[in-house]
C-alpha cells in the first residue's frame, strides 16, 4: 500500500483523524498539543497519527493535503485545517457545529 493509499484509508475509515507530532497522550509540539486540548475539551473521539514515527507519513500528509505544516485535522475524510484554523473555529463555536452537522457524537458534559 502506498503512503497516499494509507492516508486515504485512515481519513475515510475514521470520523476524526489528527495528524500530529507525538501522541494525544504525549504531544511533542505545542501546536499539536493545542489541537489535542481542544478536541479533548469538546469531548470528541479521534485517532491520532504520529508523523514523527514515519518520515514517509510526515511528508506524505503534506502532499496529500497540499498543506505544509503539522498538525492537520480531518473530519469525515475532509481536511478542516491546522492549529490556527482549528483554534479560530473552536473559539467561534464552528468546530462544535461541524461535529454536530456531521453527526459525530461529542461528550456534552465536557
Amino acid at each position: 500500500m502506498s503512503i497516499e493509499q494509507f492516508i486515504d484509508n485512515e481519513v475515510k475509515s475514521n470520523d476524526v483523524v489528527l495528524f500530529m507530532k507525538g501522541t494525544p497522550q504525549f504531544p511533542q509540539c505545542g501546536f499539536s498539543g493545542q489541537v489535542v486540548q481542544i478536541l479533548d475539551h469538546i469531548g470528541v473521539g479521534y485517532k491520532g497519527l504520529n508523523v514523527l514515527e514515519s518520515a514517509e507519513l510526515r511528508n506524505g500528509i503534506k502532499v496529500y493535503s497540499n498543506w505544509p505544516t503539522i498538525p492537520q485535522l480531518y473530519v469525515k475524510g475532509e481536511f478542516v485545517g491546522g492549529c490556527d484554523i482549528i483554534r479560530e473555529m473552536f473559539q467561534a463555536g464552528e468546530l462544535q457545529q461541524l461535529f454536530a452537522d456531521k453527526g459525530i457524537p461529542v461528550d456534552v458534559a465536557a
Partner: protein, 91 residues
C-alpha cells in the same frame, strides 16, 4: 536579507496588505525541536488584505503558504497565520 524581511517583502508584493505584522517568535521555542541557533524558525503573521475577501480560512492559508513556499521548505519551521479581510473583526 533576513528571513523575516523576505517574508515581509513577499507578502507585501503578493497581497498589497492594509496592515502587516510579522513577528519572530523563535525565542519562545528554544530547546524545542525545530529551533536553530540564530532564530528565524518560528513566525507569527498578522495580515489584513482585500485579497482575502470572500475566501475561506483554508483558502487564505493556502494563498499565504504558496507565497512563502520557499521559506516553508527551508528554514521556517512554524508559521502561525492570522489573515483577515479589511473590516473583519479580528478573531
Amino acid at each position: 536579507m533576513s528571513t523575516k524581511d523576505a517574508i515581509i517583502n513577499k507578502l507585501r508584493e503578493a497581497f498589497l496588505p492594509e496592515s502587516l505584522d510579522v513577528i519572530d517568535e523563535s525565542h519562545l521555542h528554544e530547546g524545542h525541536a525545530g529551533h536553530r541557533p540564530g532564530g528565524e524558525t518560528h513566525f507569527r503573521v498578522y495580515i489584513v488584505s482585500p485579497a482575502f475577501e470572500g475566501k475561506s480560512r483554508i483558502e487564505r492559508h493556502r494563498m499565504i503558504n504558496a507565497t512563502l513556499a520557499a521559506e516553508l521548505a527551508g528554514s521556517v519551521h512554524a508559521l502561525a497565520l492570522h489573515p483577515h479581510a479589511p473590516g473583519e473583526k479580528p478573531r
